[in-house]
């Protein structure tokens, strides 16, 4: 009789467990706890000792815990479960319920402690194991969390929360290669999860950094090492430093494609058009198929107010080599407009507009072309679009500048 009642209690324990929604952003996990599974897998021997411990007092405490939970009083529920476990220390499901309550309260150390105890009594409880893994992860005990979360994902490959928790844990363990498949799998299911994209991006960045660091380890004085150092300087707008590194790379390997391209890019970014042209020409001597360098050469020529026809020659070649390089097409249109060949500029501009409809310069050039063709209404339409895009861009820049000055002014 007592055993039957105990089993009932145990069964009702499992069936009355609340499925807590543990969703949170940036680490909050959805944790559906299906404790009934615990009892399906529970060894008979354990059930027998646990049943023995289900006295009327334990039942009463359970009822009180349940009632407290129903009214949202988790603190009392925890108290009641603790009292239960003093009287029924082998009641594994109770450990799991208590563990879940602690987890919901974000009291991860207690959750882990309680779940460990439950799993000692019955190791074959995948959900408890998963929850313990989540707890360890929250506590930063990544070494402990990883195997448990991995097991959880193996047991249920569709458990998104477990996947994300495992991915984060692997990132913390600097096992980036292993983390990316889980992130990608998650993003396949939820492509709008910006946090997951952020994690994936950071993971790739770290992998890239590690790879680049290896270059330095292998040979810090190699051409590649100088190029990478220059690129880093360039990204931080330390153009003087970048030029030094690129020059070293070029001196070591003057015929190797890339060196002059990088150097030319620094000059191009800093508006030193003549020097940029020199470098891009040198690059094209090494690599005639570098259409980006050819485009930039032509762009530098246009910026330096060189002959538009000369720039056009380069741009024709760039577009021929790389038909999808829209910047080259726009600059070709610009050169054609300068040469009063507006009709010839139109196809490039229409293609570029499809590719980048919010680029103001394209609309400005289109207005110029339509005006030359006598299409006043079309020209006006393009000017209005140009005006709108320019105003939006100006307001955005002005707001950013204003914010920056405000922050600087208030800094101490």
């Amino acid at each position: 009789m007592k055993r039957k009642t105990g089993r009932k209690i145990i069964m009702s324990l499992s069936m009355n467990i609340r499925f807590s929604n543990l969703f949170r952003t940036m680490g909050m996990l959805w944790l559906p706890v299906v404790l009934i599974l615990l009892f399906v897998t529970m060894p008979v021997a354990f059930a027998q000792s646990a049943e023995d411990e289900v006295t009327p007092q334990v039942q009463e405490l359970y009822a009180q815990a349940k009632a407290a939970q129903d009214r949202g009083d988790n603190a009392t529920a925890i108290q009641k479960y603790r009292a239960m476990l003093k009287l029924a220390p082998h009641l594994a499901p109770a450990y799991n319920n208590l563990g879940m309550l602690y987890f919901n309260q974000r009291d991860y150390p207690h959750a882990a402690q309680v779940l460990e105890q439950g799993l000692k009594l019955n190791p074959d409880m995948p959900t408890a194991s998963a929850m313990l893994g989540f707890s360890y992860a929250e506590m930063g005990e990544n070494e402990k969390a990883e195997p448990l979360l991995e097991a959880a994902v193996r047991a249920n490959p569709n458990d998104d929360n477990a996947q994300m928790a495992l991915a984060r844990t692997l990132i913390h363990l600097k096992r980036y290669d292993e983390a990316t498949p889980y992130l990608k799998s998650h993003l396949d299911k939820d492509p709008k999860d910006t946090q997951a994209w952020y994690l994936l991006g950071k993971t790739y960045l770290q992998l890239s950094e590690d790879a680049l660091g290896r270059i330095n380890e292998i040979d810090p004085n190699s051409v590649t090492a100088h190029i990478v150092a220059g690129e880093i300087d360039e990204s931080m707008k330390n153009y003087d430093g970048a030029l030094v590194e690129y020059k070293k790379a070029i001196d070591m390997a003057p015929k190797q494609p890339g060196g002059h391209d990088h150097m030319g890019n620094v000059f191009w970014e800093t508006g030193k058009w003549e020097s940029a042209q020199t470098e891009f020409k040198a690059e094209l001597a090494n690599d005639p198929n570098n259409c980006t360098a050819r485009w930039k050469l032509a762009n530098a020529m246009l910026e330096a107010n060189a002959l538009a026809q000369d720039a056009l020659t380069e741009l024709n070649r760039a577009v021929e080599q790389c038909p999808t390089l829209m910047q080259a097409r726009v600059d070709r249109a610009r050169a054609l407009v300068k040469l009063n060949k507006q009709d010839e500029a139109l196809p490039d501009l229409l293609l570029a507009e499809k590719d980048s409809p919010n680029e103001p310069s394209i609309h400005f050039l289109l207005a110029n072309v339509y005006r030359a063709q006598g299409k006043a209404a079309d020209a006006q339409r393009e000017l209005r679009t140009y005006g709108r895009l320019q105003r939006e861009a100006s307001e955005s820049v002005a707001a950013q500048a204003s914010d920056a000055i405000s922050i600087k002014s208030n800094a101490h």
Binding site: L205, S208, E209, L212, G213, I215, N216, P220, A225, V228, A229, E231, I232, D233, E234, S235, M236, N238, G241, E245, W268, E269, T270, G271, K272, W273, E274, N299, E303, A304, N305, Q327, D331, R334, S356, E359, P360, S361, I362, F364, L365, N368, R371, Q380, L383, R384, Y386, G387, Q390, R391, S394, E395, A398, A401, S402, A404, I405, K408, S409, A411
Partner: protein, 622 residues
């Protein structure tokens, strides 16, 4: 930063930036390329030198040629006064701007007087020295001028910028609005040779960095309203320098050389439109009218002018390193921003320019006002041809203006018919802002000579060569320039306010080969008394010309309010029609040429003046 310098630590942050930067590409980078690295808005051009290897801006003189202007600064008495702006080193942008000049007949004696705005010194600001005074040069009618600023009460004694002339209370006497880095002045003319500053009482004092103002009756109530552009926010206690809080980014290099910071990188100041209440006060209606300049562009010059001939003054604002504004007057107290749509915001390359000055004139004699904006060095000065309906085309290259002007950093400008052939020519005054240019071979110079372009029948402009020893060969640090007939001889002269130097008065000494006529207009009850906003159409011979009465423009300056016409080969005037600001159209007869006629709205010609005539001086027609 190098990989080998740190065991991966420094590399880490840099790698992140590098990899993020790798991902960024596209048009933004291309567009910005000409604005990085401290080039001007136009980019970088190869230097142009003359035969003696001087930069063309300070050279290129010829031994012989037609003489258009003679420098009479000393004999006129103007050279006794000196402009001051900070220190010669020009460590801060506020020291570089310079000042405007106004031509007005403040005592109503029929002869133009000259008001020169002055800057400030740091010693004066700290009380160690007296403040530099503005000058009011009274025209003595004999080719000389006397500075009466102190007696008149218009010395300003603040860090001045620009000036506009307008009879804001319609009492028949011209008043002055003087802008400052700080509180502005509204000098009310007391009719007795003195002025009182009414700015605070009128509600137009502001207290920010105001630049080139303009008067105009935008709401058509017969009273002059006032527009004041704003440049940048400026704190003398925390001036913009490398590393300071008032500069967003280090826009403090020009061609790789360190120079003063700004205006890019500084927080911009907004513009203001003040509506005249008719009782000596004004109301700020900037936001309501739609001309408040929300983005905070760097406004330098403004001009109320009717560009689409609907009888309502529209509004131009020339902005430095930011898009220019063209506002259409909608006639309901508000304006529509058509800056980009009109083509005026940028030049033909789609670039914003460092616009310094505005000139308007009908250079094609087709009845439509065209616009000439002056700009920075390494950039051409932009001639916007008016196609009608507020549509403008940059024709600078086609008109022959672009290439010769590229090396010059130009300020005051005007459409003037210097040779009275009936076609409006162009005068441009120039001078750089960076003293450092004189240490580098960049094809430009700190002090620069003026430029005069002769209009070839409205098709093209030809540069008039600077003959040695003449006014066009003056190498000066020009800023504001005002144009007018100072000697009442029918020829347009030029007064230039030079930075850190005495002013230049260029007397027009071109050959007397053509006739001319001028009009002084007086508005009626429903027009501003000084007729600002009036348009005169004159037909003589085969030409039909247009002249407008305007206030402001050039660089922070104000021109002769009288309307001047050269008549070319015509000996008589066929017809004159005046479109008064009230909307009234009036035709008048002009019995003679080579005269200055006073015309009152509704009454026709009420007086004429002939300075060279042997039969009396002031002669009433009726």
């Amino acid at each position: 930063m190098r990989i080998r310098d740190a065991a991966g630590g420094g590399f880490r942050a840099g790698a992140v930036l590098f990899l993020i930067a790798l991902a960024a590409c596209g048009f933004a980078q291309e567009q910005m390329s000409s604005q990085q690295g401290g080039a001007s808005t136009g980019g970088v051009y190869a230097p142009v030198h003359d035969a003696e290897h001087r930069p063309i801006t300070a050279g290129g003189f010829v031994e012989r040629g037609p003489v258009a202007f003679k420098d009479v600064s000393v004999v006129s008495g103007l050279a006794a006064w000196r402009n001051e702006g900070g220190t010669p080193a020009k460590a801060y942008i506020v020291e570089s701007l310079g000042n405007g000049v106004a031509l007005l007949d403040y005592d109503n004696d029929g002869w133009l007087d000259i008001y020169l705005v002055n800057g400030m010194t740091y010693d004066a600001m700290s009380g160690k020295a007296p403040a530099p005074h503005a000058a009011l040069f009274h025209n003595n009618h004999d080719g000389t001028f006397t500075n009466v600023a102190a007696q008149a009460g218009v010395t300003n004694d603040r860090w001045g910028v620009g000036v506009a002339v307008g009879d804001y209370d319609n009492d028949g006497w011209p008043d002055l609005y003087v802008t400052n880095v700080g509180k502005n002045r509204l000098y009310h003319n007391n009719h007795d040779g003195t002025f009182n500053d009414m700015a605070e009482k009128a509600g137009v004092a502001l207290g920010t960095w105001s630049t080139g103002p303009t008067f105009g009756d935008y709401d058509g109530d017969g009273r002059l309203d006032l527009f004041v552009p704003g440049y940048t926010q400026y704190d003398f206690a925390n001036p913009p320098a490398v590393g300071s809080n008032s500069v967003v980014s280090n826009n403090c290099k020009y061609r790789g050389v360190s120079v003063f910071c700004g205006p890019r990188g500084l927080r911009g100041e907004h513009d203001h439109l003040f509506r005249n209440n008719g009782d000596g006060t004004f109301t700020d209606v900037s936001a309501k009218a739609g001309v408040a300049d929300a983005p905070g562009y760097y406004g330098l010059v403004s001009l109320f002018v009717d560009l689409n001939d609907d009888g309502r003054p529209d509004l131009l604002v020339a902005d430095d390193s930011t898009p220019n504004y063209l506002y259409r007057n909608k006639g309901d107290g508000t304006f529509e921003d058509l800056s980009f749509e009109s083509g005026y915001a940028v030049n033909r390359d789609g670039r914003e320019t460092a616009s310094m000055g505005i000139a308007v004139g009908d250079y094609q004699n087709n009845g439509r006002l065209d616009i000439l904006n002056t700009t920075f060095s390494d950039d051409y000065k932009v001639l916007y041809q008016n196609n009608g309906d507020l549509d403008f085309t940059d024709v600078s290259y086609d008109a022959g203006i672009a290439t010769p002007t590229i090396p010059f950093l130009s300020w005051g400008d005007g459409f003037i018919d210097y040779d009275n052939d009936g076609w409006k020519d162009i005068f441009i005054a120039s001078g750089h802002v960076y003293p450092q240019v004189d240490q580098h071979d960049w094809g430009t110079s700190m002090a620069e000579r003026p430029l005069l372009f002769r209009n070839i029948h409205g098709q093209k402009f030809e540069l008039v060569p600077p003959v040695k020893g003449t006014g066009l060969a003056d190498v000066i640090l020009a800023r504001g320039a005002a144009f007018g007939d100072l000697f009442n001889d029918g020829k347009i002269d030029v007064v230039i306010n030079n930075l850190d130097a005495p002013p230049t008065l260029l007397r027009n000494v071109s050959e007397d080969r053509h006739h001319w006529v001028e009009f002084k207009l007086i508005g009626g009850a429903k027009s501003p008394h000084d007729a600002i906003g009036a348009v005169v159409f004159l037909s003589a011979g085969s030409m039909k010309q247009r002249g407008d009465v305007l206030s402001g423009g050039s660089f922070a300056s104000s021109n002769d309010p009288r309307v001047h016409f050269g008549l070319g080969d015509a000996m008589t005037v066929d017809s004159v029609e005046i479109r008064w600001p009230s909307g009234v159209r009036e035709k008048i007869s002009v019995p003679n040429v080579d005269r200055i006629y006073t015309v009152e709205e509704g009454k026709g010609v009420t007086a004429s003046f002939c300075a060279r005539c042997t039969v009396g001086k002031e002669a009433a027609v009726k």
